[in-house]
Amino acid sequence: MKDKKQRLAVYLLLAIILWARPSATLAGSLEEQTLRLAAELRCPVCQNLSVADSPSEMATQMREVIHEKLKNGESPDQIRNYFVSRYGEWILLSPTRRGFNWLAWLLPFVALLGGGGIIVLTVRHSIRRGRKSNAEQLRPPDPRYTSRLDAELKEWER
């Protein structure tokens, strides 16, 4: 049981490390690496399109620059840093995980947890209310209504 827990913790830690740190080297052909890097960059002349997805001339030129830099032996990190040094962090479709940017990464999880908490609390509250009203129903019936019900049933049977 303890082993299982430890293994689970290691897997969890590995998952967090892999999630938090984009790989320094990208596998695949030069074209695949170019497209993967281009997918991380925002097309400067488009609305919400990556450099990989945009058919614009500027995006095409940017893909060519990435391709050439990879061919010259530059690492993906160096190429990312090059674009950030020219366009600013704005060029990255996913903000880097540091400083104020953490807000963008953590806020959805906080909202998800908060929303989940509200749902749990609401469900619990309604269950409690349901139990209370059930308990109220189990109380002995009001004799005024039972005698009237009996009388009306007898009337109807006649």
Binding site: V45, S85, G88
Partner: protein, 172 residues
Amino acid sequence: MATWKKLILLLSIIPLLLLLAYGFKTNPREVPSPLVGRQAPPFAFSMFDGTSHSLEQLRGKPVVLNFWASWCFPACYEEAPHLEAAWQTYRDRGVVFIGVDIQDRDTDGKAFVERFKLSFPNGPDPQGKVSIDYGVYGVPETFFIGRDGTIHYKHVGALDESVLKKKIEEML
């Protein structure tokens, strides 16, 4: 609803409203250039007239580097006469003007230069290397490079006489 519940609701809504207000106040098209205050990226390219120019050659002179395109209407058409006029005013004081025609056909670029009688060097950037190196994301954009090669100011959109005069005077 209990008072404390109302308070929690209010406290959770206020930061969201502030964030939204901040988002609405900022202009998504206004992206500050990280290059301002830094050394200008070196460039070397051929002009329409066949001459070559590089930033290295121009060290020690203030440079106005203008990115434009013939399809950029009306902004590039509005600023072109102001650029030519400023060039005529400041050329004797050592200011260099260079125009970079981006994402354009050579014939259209040359026709634009001819139309506005631009007498300062203008050349194409066929692979977009110069424009990407300067973090250009639209036209027109203009960089004012000081004598020491540092980018003094970046202007996005059409230039007018007053901006040109102010920024060039600051560099002189």
